[in-house]
Symmetry: C2
């Protein structure tokens, strides 16, 4: 299996991306194609004693920055690592693509360069978020399409179920509709119509879910419009991070607190790990014709390695074939 990796995407590119790719190559037996500035990849590898002799490198002179507009990947920067990677993916020069770069560009490039699965109207950006029941859930859509329609929410539910079942190995994934209350009549026209569609669909729809139920693992797939989803995602991550930072500070304040930390260290580590999004590595873009996976922007080597592992499983589980059949 050949996995194309964007060497230039994310806050810690290219060093951590190269490191993570090498770890994944060794551990999961996949071939890696690094796309990016060849001279930079080579010099960074040399400086850090990383042996990349077994890794294919495809040169791409441009880089899309995190704050650039999503469609930069199309006409403005056709020689960016991302645009080059998407064209390679479209031409079957790799089985999947992983990037820690600009999420918007990943959605646009996946949709318009690699193309959508036949029948899928709009791909969804679908982060995997940890919850406190000890696992993760998929939030779809978290920002690929800010405005949406009931049919799109249904497609998100079908795609999310296929992913959680086949890649995350959750039997009969529970799908919830993000809403302001659990009763069927809650929400606006979008939610009312989506509820009707979801109820009739061949998925395990459990009804409306509220924001407060998400951290408790109430369901495995949460569907919503991209605007709301983006705010849920970032509020969730931001709150968890703010509290984790506070807990860490509390324990490193003085000798007494460090002693306390030593006493509960293993449980503390476990707790922080349980709520660490790096464990899940990021967000698949659901609905593209080939697997595209967005690793967290702040990814270090371990997260990139995990992202490549999930992407490998995304390819092997043939989720895209299952989605194609479901939307036929």
């Amino acid at each position: 299996m050949k996995i194309i990796v964007d060497a230039m995407g994310g806050d810690n590119a290219p060093l951590e991306i190269i490191k993570g790719s090498l770890l994944a190559k060794k551990e999961y037996n996949v071939d890696i194609i690094l796309v990016g500035k060849e001279s930079v990849i080579n010099s960074v590898s040399r400086e850090n004693n990383l042996d990349i002799s077994d890794v294919e490198i495809i040169n791409a002179e441009q880089v899309i920055e995190t704050d650039e507009e999503a469609n930069t990947v199309l006409k403005k920067k056709p020689d960016s690592s991302m645009a080059v990677a998407f064209r390679m993916l479209a031409q079957n020069e790799g089985d999947a693509f992983v990037s820690a770069g600009n999420s918007g560009s990943l959605c646009v490039g996946g949709t318009l360069i690699t193309k959508r699965i036949k029948g899928i109207k709009r791909p969804g950006f679908a982060p995997l978020l940890p919850h406190f029941a000890g696992g993760c859930f998929m939030l779809i859509d978290a920002g690929a399409n800010l405005e949406t329609r009931p049919e799109l929410l249904l497609q998100y539910a079908v795609m999310g179920s296929a992913y959680m079942k086949n890649v995350m190995k959750i039997e009969n994934p529970r799908v919830g509709l993000a809403n302001v209350g659990t009763e069927e009549h809650k929400g606006m026209e979008l939610q009312h119509k989506a509820y009707e569609l979801l109820k009739e669909a061949d998925i395990n729809f459990i009804g409306n879910v509220e924001g407060r139920e998400l951290p408790y693992g109430k369901c495995d797939v949460v569907v919503c419009d991209g605007f709301t989803g983006n705010l849920i995602l970032k509020t969730y991550e931001g709150t968890a991070k703010a509290i984790a930072d506070k807990v860490k500070n509390l324990f490193s304040k003085n000798l007494k607190s460090k002693l306390a930390a030593a006493l509960v260290m293993s449980d503390l580590k476990k707790m922080i790990k349980e709520f660490d999004y790096n464990e899940y590595g990021g967000a698949p873009i659901m609905g593209t014709l080939k697997p595209v996976f967005k690793a967290h922007g702040s990814s270090k080597a371990k997260t990139i390695k995990n992202a490549i592992k999930l992407t490998k499983e995304f390819v092997e589980a043939d989720v895209i074939k299952e989605i194609s059949q479901a939307v036929k």
Copy 2:
């Protein structure tokens, strides 16, 4: 000052409501009018040795449950504690109203029985949320109106600023527009148009804010549509609660962890308190002609007491007059 209190609203009514009202009466020198089932209020007070001889009680035979539809307060239950209280408020039989009951009914009753401030198109449900910079911010609207318009977001910003300045004593409150990115072009038509209005308004508008910035106290007032706001609110509270529960469990697991807890107890308590919404007591309904305050549904006596304190300050600061002048 006379504050009308819904004796029947919330998970711990009427006992904790009565207790909190008595505490507030004593501490803040306000007159309390308890509205609810007189026989129940009397018997619960007697059983718990609470002296309510100084408190006025107005009988109301019906109770609106938390899961009932918002408009129950109008025709379906005209003799509910909430409907009776709103009519009293409209007839100037009290200066403000506090309830831990059904939020939807509070918004509907406030809007249609007590009426709106002249010029205000739609009241907003405006919870006060703690943040980690050591204070709180107002989220408006968190569910009174799921669909909204740019002019309503502007009015929310004006009302939120007036409240945070006069009641929470924040000089020149910073107003942010909830959005999927900080750049001006982010969001949908609603956000684009609202951005233009907010930029021109006589408030301290700091631009778009993302979900991840909220727990860090990036701004004092966050404006958004009620659908998104409700999901932000509950995701924020749910995540904080889930993590606080985990931390508490971690420290009560065994002797070793209890020893650790003892070592960091004061900091730990401070941290948990910092993120405890009970400290702020709830959410004013902004835009009604008289102050209406929603205390958290799970309020105990202390939270009710705090809610009454904030409501007293809401009356004294004459926020409603300031809003009236601003929207003239």
